[in-house]
């Protein structure tokens, strides 16, 4: 919502476009800074005191408060502070932090609904306890005037409670009836109304049986289920919003030679944007000045950087590596190629929401059954007793109360809450309500390589084979550049030789003078070497060239995740857009025999669809824009938090940490959760099998109804908590 409004107001205000960038900055800066950071690693007391302590000590920070449940910290600070100032501070004490855009976290509405539900739970609990107290007297044999008095008081408490607490059920029952459907809430509402009205009638005629306690207890247990359900939905929704907000993109816009930082939504077509080395392209555009290399890994899966100079076309999402680039904007924000991809994904997504959950299937079976039972009991007893409506209604109310899906309403929400809480603690965020169930059905896992199984930081190969002189020259040259390959070399080499006149030629490499002779490190064609098939950089020294190849660095936990998935009987495959040599080397290393290299985005999606066509349930794990099609086409999908927006939007589950081993745990927990749900349905069915015949025969007392209801609800909740960790 917030997105659309923001966009609309921008378009509706043409003046905004002509205001100079610096004014736009001033408008944003005038508000006091309220910074929200996500802290995926926050856990325990230590996190609170460390994070709050270090933040409060930071100059300019007014208050800082950690919310451990949501793993966030809210900071009120002087207007000049930005999140980028605080993230390194937190990293310094060992907490990974991501900026969140507080404007996009529109939690207010769901917040209000949640509190309303909680309020109804509280009221129902109060009434239930009081009526129980009065009912105990009736059950233990209160008679005549005493019983009537107790019934009257119970009724006086129960009627307003049912009217107030039953509203969510009445509303949704009415909505489903108007659509001509028999949802779960129809029998619930019917039971509430019937039980209350027959009890009022009985009380007025000083009858023996009043079901006030049952009606209130019913609404209490069902409201708890409803509240848990709401909470996990709200968590999933806020997770989705949080991810949309995770990357708050800004661009450096050149305003008559001055550099101003603007949020991406305020960059207009035609603006000149400066992209520093190491920065990600915020927009689509045309390079007008500077030369550099760009890393398109996230967009295409290529691990080899691509040259960029004046006239080159760059797209949002590429990473600028060596030299500063000035880019003229051709498309920004929602029109950029990155966001157009995201829109395509949204279409694919909507196709997947047609999945029917276990709970839907159970209620489709169950609702008609309850009505048939209750009405046939009414009909039978009306005929049997020769027209005693009071008795027949009594029986049919008892049947409705006993069969009412108390346990059923709790069975799924309790399990989902327990499982998603467990996964959240492991750094696995479930974005979609049905993802857990779908994850449990998976039998094939397809991994992307670049950025998913690998970290995107390369490891140099065969350095020992180089002559010592070349190695020391290499060390000196590598220390000059911030290119990822050079940085990897600098980290692995020591004792740099004395190389003078060092300078970087952006887009090509580094050169210098060694004993008066020119030396170069960089691209093959610039150095004069024959290019290798794999990612490599080349050193020219004394007319000789040396090639230094690179292998991808494996993401921590990748091997554990693959082993864990195999142990659970899954087929693991690798699909990458990278070159065949690089993919083969990597696949051999992690031990995946089944791999595809050089796959285009459409081919990745087609592969997943093929597998689906063969009757397989595919879990896709990927991070790049080239994976989004496959992520959306898969039965269920996972992406790491470092992935591009579009990929995170397309996937159902996001890994918050860097470690991949949580995937195996997630699948295990999801399978367990599914099993618990089925068990819970079984338990509530078993209770019904025992209690319903009693109710049909007219032998169900209010005491029996109360016992059956609370016992089944408690067993179901306890069963939900039996989720265990995966031990490999």
């Amino acid at each position: 919502m917030a997105l659309i409004e923001e966009h609309a107001s921008f378009a509706a205000c043409p003046a905004c476009v002509v205001v100079s960038p610096s004014d736009r900055v001033a408008a944003i800066r005038s508000q006091a800074a309220r910074i929200m950071l996500s802290l995926p690693g926050a856990e325990g007391v230590a996190a609170i005191s460390t994070v709050e302590g270090v933040l409060r000590a930071f100059p300019g920070v007014r208050t800082a408060r950690v919310n451990l449940t949501q793993r966030r910290v809210v900071i009120e600070a002087d207007p000049h502070l930005v999140a980028a100032d605080l993230i390194p501070v937190l990293a310094g004490v060992g907490y990974e932090a991501h900026e969140l855009d507080p404007g996009m976290l529109s939690m207010t509405e769901t917040d209000r609904q949640g509190r309303e539900l909680l309020m109804r739970v509280g009221v129902a609990f109060f009434s239930m306890m009081n009526i129980m107290l009065l009912s105990v007297a009736v059950w233990s044999g209160a008679e005549a005037a005493t019983r009537d008095l107790f019934h009257f008081i119970s009724g006086a408490i129960a009627l307003p409670t049912v009217i107030f607490c039953g509203q969510p059920f009445f509303r949704s029952a009415w909505a489903s009836l108007r659509r001509g459907k028999l949802g779960m809430d129809v029998p619930i509402s019917l039971a509430l109304i019937l039980a209350s009205s027959i009890s009022v009638y009985e009380t007025l005629h000083s009858g023996e049986k009043a079901y006030f306690d049952a009606a209130v207890m019913l609404s209490f247990f069902l409201l708890i289920g409803r509240y848990l359900d709401h909470r996990s939905r709200a968590l999933a929704r806020s997770a989705a919003e949080e991810l949309a907000a995770l990357e708050v993109p800004r661009a450096i816009v050149l305003d008559n030679g001055r550099e101003v930082v603007l949020p991406i939504a305020q960059v207009a077509v035609g603006d000149l944007v400066l992209v520093r080395p190491g920065g990600r392209m915020p927009v689509d555009g045309l390079v007008v000045a500077g030369t550099s290399e760009t890393d398109r890994g996230l967009l295409t899966g290529e691990s080899l950087p691509v040259f960029a100079g004046p006239g080159s076309v760059v797209s949002a999402g590429e990473v600028n590596l060596t030299g500063p680039l000035t880019v003229q904007v051709t498309a920004a924000g929602r029109d950029s190629s990155l966001h157009r991809m995201a829109d395509l994904v949204a279409v694919a997504e909507s196709a997947r929401t047609r999945y029917t959950t276990l709970a839907d299937r159970a209620s489709a079976l169950y609702s008609p059954l309850v009505h048939i039972l209750s009405f046939s009991a009414f009909g039978f007893w009306l005929w049997q007793t020769g027209g005693d409506i009071r008795f027949a209604v009594n029986i049919s109310a008892a049947v409705l109360i006993i069969t009412c899906p108390c346990a059923l309403g709790l069975a799924v929400p309790a399990v989902v809450t327990a499982a998603s809480g467990k996964l959240f603690r492991k750094g696995v965020l479930i974005k979609n309500g049905t993802a857990l169930e779908r994850l449990a059905q998976v039998d094939t896992v397809v991994f992307d390589k670049t950025g998913t199984l690998t970290m995107g930081t390369p490891e140099p190969l065969g350095l020992d084979a180089l002559p010592p002189e070349a190695l020391s020259v290499l060390a000196a040259l590598a220390r000059t550049s911030s290119h990822p390959l050079a940085m990897a070399l600098a980290a692995r080499t020591d004792t740099p030789a004395k190389v003078t006149d060092l300078h970087e030629v952006p887009g090509y490499g580094v050169q210098g003078l060694y004993h008066g002779r020119p030396v170069r490190l960089g691209r093959a064609e610039w150095v004069g070497a024959a290019p290798l098939a794999l990612t490599a950089t080349y050193l020219a020294l004394d007319g000789q060239t040396h090639a230094i190849g690179f292998a991808d660095q494996i993401r921590p936990g990748a091997e554990a995740a693959i082993a864990g998935l195999r142990a659970q009987g899954m087929t693991v495959r690798l699909v990458s857009g990278d070159t065949e040599a690089a993919v083969r080397a990597f696949a051999d290393r992690v031990g995946i025999p089944d791999w595809v290299a050089g796959a285009l985005p459409a081919e990745k999606a087609a592969l997943v669809q093929d597998l689906t066509g063969q009757g397989r349930r595919v879990l896709m794990v990927g991070d790049g824009l080239n994976d989004t099609g496959a992520l959306a086409a898969a039965h269920v999908s996972i992406s790491p938090a470092q992935a591009l927006d579009a990929a995170r939007v397309a996937s159902d589950i996001v890994l918050l940490g860097r470690d991949l081993s949580a995937i195996a745990d997630a699948v295990h927990i999801a399978r367990q959760a599914s099993r618990r749900m089925v068990e819970n349905f079984g338990i509530s069915a078993a209770y019904n099998v025992v209690a319903v015949p009693l109710a049909l025969m007219g032998a169900a007392t209010p005491l029996a109804a109360a016992l059956a209801m609370s016992l089944s609800s408690i067993t179901v909740s306890l069963n939900a908590l039996r989720l265990r960790q995966w031990k490999s």
Binding site: G44, I48, S49, T63, L68, V74, M129, L133
Partner: protein, 56 residues
């Protein structure tokens, strides 16, 4: 049985007090961060600031 005329109102009033306390706790957002509050009680550093309430 006359004792009932005292006991029943008393029990209702006590229950209602509990309900009011619950509603108050909810209105003042004391259920926002249950995990955090559970941990906060173990903190050793003295905290004299009131909670930052998140206004909508």
């Amino acid at each position: 049985m006359e004792i009932l005329t005292i006991l029943i109102p008393v029990s209702l009033i006590l229950g209602a007090l509990g309900l009011l306390a619950f509603i108050w706790a909810m209105r003042t957002r004391q259920f926002e961060d249950m995990q955090g509050d559970a941990s906060r009680i173990l903190l050793t550093d003295y905290d004299d600031k009131p909670a930052v309430t998140e206004e909508p």
